[in-house]
Symmetry: C2
Subunit: 134 residues, 2 copies
């Protein structure tokens, strides 16, 4: 990861060249011109669980036409640092998908397959909800 | 978070409009055209600890001219999921910085201030190293 300005704006790059711009929040001197590091954890949960749900519904031969996911983190103090006490994942799903199958897919992801949520559940309660063809 | 293709490529957006493109790895059917969700955790550690080190060295009146950080995660199986058993953070620092101050800054970040590493240390050992004016 390299610095993009003379203070706290950074560009991270993974092994395959995909990038993420991060910045500190304005209250500690950043310009808010990138994702905050703590937010990367929530984005990771969103990406991981969405990939799972797409893949599991496909295996179940359900015809998913679109998916949107919102992840909210509820913070609490943890000494000088902050942690998420709860992370809530809300799925919006469109398509010819049976509700029972969707429930199963979400449960399989968050309880078994999603590595990011399995890691974060060591310190946060992870809850979920969904809307089907809202 | 919204889907960008008809399979597993997604764009996450935070409350201030900053974005991250994520994709599944090719071995599970993605195209590798974005950051993998598990990598977001390592990027979060990189961003969080870099922001801390910049801020702490500034408070210590050390003249940092540049910083690069490499974060490596060592995976192990965790049931059907994967976790990082160890995360290593390597700092490269340039500038008129006293080595003792740099050591203190890194230690303060990883042991006390960096929320992302404090969260991840619940399931991974977090280790660090540095080079000063390499």
């Amino acid at each position: 990861m390299s610095r993009l300005d003379d203070y706290m704006k950074f560009e991270a790059v993974n092994e395959t060249g995909n990038t993420l711009v991060m910045d500190a929040s304005p209250n500690i001197g950043g310009k808010g011109e990138g994702v905050r590091p703590m937010e990367t954890l929530l984005m990771g949960v969103a990406g991981c669980s969405s990939i799972d749900v797409v893949m599991i519904l496909k295996k179940m031969r359900q015809d998913l036409s679109d998916i949107k996911v919102q992840v909210d983190g509820y913070k609490e103090k943890n000494g000088e640092a902050t942690k998420y006490s709860r992370i809530h994942v809300h799925f919006k799903i469109w398509g010819e998908v049976k509700e029972k199958k969707l429930q199963e897919a979400i449960q399989m992801s968050l309880e078994k397959y999603c590595s990011v949520s399995k890691i974060l559940e060591a310190s946060a309660d992870i809850t979920s909800s969904y809307e089907l063809n809202p």
